[in-house]
């Protein structure tokens, strides 16, 4: 009886895995088949207005990149606070909870919030509004990973640092963070990968532009918003471009994730 139950259970698990993988494989297949068909050099050398994706790809990377650059110090510092300064106080727990809540905040709600505080007062969609939305989505992820990673740093290390008379700042920067560096880096890359594929918070904040732009104060080219616009056009070429964009976006996210994995594996060895 026990053995039969066991057998059934194993079969079920394997089957579940197969079903899940089947659908995911289907999506990936669709994406590759549709996306690769339109892939050409022109996609990378021309802007959207000329039937390429150069400006929107670069635009998406710039917005996510700027959000990351601002998000890293804020996220890491907040994580450091939770582990190194906050102790076990109620406040620390409260902030930890807040961060978790923010991590699951619906991205479209973040978009409406930014719309209300940036787009309405300044009067137009802008790259900065997009950056802010992505920043808000990203910070809690970095906080969480930093928090988790610092938790793994052995107390002995910290004590040893203090024992030789180093200040808390030095211990944190040179010992604790260095020890947890790989993990934090992975967290950052994953956070970047998470926001780079976001559409909902950008729809009404950055908008999207058909032209080349590096000016974050104006409507900014966005790959995800453009995919959304293109895929719904009554023009086969534009729809094709949308799928190509979707394929490139996924490829981009996958590459970042792979780098993240590689970085963390490398250090663990």
């Amino acid at each position: 009886m026990r053995l039969i139950a066991n057998r059934l259970f194993l079969i079920f698990s394997t089957l579940a895995a197969l079903i899940g993988l089947f659908f995911l494989g289907w999506i990936l297949f669709t994406l590759c088949a549709k996306g690769l068909a339109g892939l050409s050099l022109q996609v990378f050398t021309h802007d959207l207005i000329e039937g390429g994706l150069r400006n929107v790809i670069v635009g998406q990377i710039i917005m996510s990149g700027v959000a990351t650059v601002i998000g890293i110090p804020v996220g890491i510092l907040a994580g450091v606070y939770l582990q190194e300064y906050g102790g076990d106080s109620k406040l620390t727990e409260f902030i930890r909870d807040l961060s978790d809540v923010m991590m699951s905040a619906p991205s479209i709600v973040v978009g409406t919030f930014v719309y209300a505080i940036v787009v309405i007062p300044t009067g137009h969609t802008s790259g900065w509004a997009g950056v802010l939305a992505l920043f808000i989505l990203m910070v809690p992820i970095i906080v969480r990973t930093t928090d988790d990673m610092l938790k793994l740093v052995p107390v002995e290390l910290r004590e040893a640092g203090i024992a030789i008379g180093a200040s808390k700042y030095h211990v944190t920067m040179n010992i604790v963070i260095r020890y947890a560096k790989a993990g934090i880096l992975t967290g950052i890359l994953l956070a970047f990968a998470r926001v780079v594929g976001e559409t909902a918070p950008l729809l009404y904040t950055s908008g999207s532009s058909e032209f080349w732009s590096t000016d974050l104060t104006g409507t900014f080219p966005s790959l995800t918003v453009s995919i959304y616009n293109l895929a719904t056009m009554p023009d086969e070429e534009m729809v094709q471009l949308g799928w190509t964009g979707a394929f490139l976006l996924t490829a981009m996210v996958l590459v970042i994730n792979l780098i993240g994995r590689y970085a963390s594996n490398d250090k663990r060895r």
Partner: protein, 325 residues
Amino acid sequence: MELIFKKLSQLSAGLLFVILAATTLVLYWSAKPAIEAFGVGFLIETRWGVEEPLVAAGGQLESSDELTGSDSTDGGDDDFIDDEDDFIMDDEDASDDTTREVYGALVPIVGTIFSTLIAMLFSIPIAMGIAVFLAEIASSSIAKPVGVAIELLASIPSIIYGMWGLFYFGPFIASIFGGNTVSLLVAGLVLAIMVIPFMAALSRDAISTVPDMLKESAYAMGATKLEVIKDVVFPYAKAGIIGSIILSFGRAMGETMAVAFVIGGIYQFAGKVTDPTNSIPVVLANSFAESSGLSLSVLFYLALVLFILSFIVIGVAKFYFLRRK
């Protein structure tokens, strides 16, 4: 240096609180006209954007008379045009309206909850199956590449799930279960497929934290794999697994792009799972740009409701499940 560093880290932690508080306040403030107009009744009102006569204006009789009276003309008379756009930024003209638009959130709220529940119903067993398969069943030469693949799939942008759902999965489901290609069921299943890799990857991580020693001693006592997983692995990794489910729940509930194309987008309850309905994020995405004045405020109200809903889910889940460790 020491002090600055400490202050900075405090500041950053405080910023989290500021952002969250600001979000709530700004949403509330933007939603205020709608909250004043519809009150809490908004949450249980089923109509959306339907005009009803304003009893207070006392113009009921008059207005219906006027409408029938204008029937005979069919030339340049455009009295029947909804003039919402004309009055943007000059509200004083709108005040002599004899009707008002009623908005209610119940349909999208119910749609959001049910699509998320359907997603959970399907994704939890499958994701757990995958996690167990990867961590305990498959040999490492299979588990490794499949594990990486799952994690990578977790990062596919959600808009792609939406496009796939509309073109391929919706028609597929309709051919099996009948009904339409866009429905509550399709939306729930697309969400399920979207969160599976995410949930599986996190649960797998939680399961792999179980010390080998624990498992081995159980095996040594003659336990089967099922028993080991049921009695040793799951209890040990419970917090992590539940955490992964909660995060997936939150993600499914707030998802916009994957659902926008496949839920049907109509303000009507789904009598059957194969009927179309609506969800809060989809309403926001569909009407945000086109709205102004009160109808925009209504959307902020809706966003606030969604925000609070997700807040509650996370809060309750954290309190009940995650604290017990």
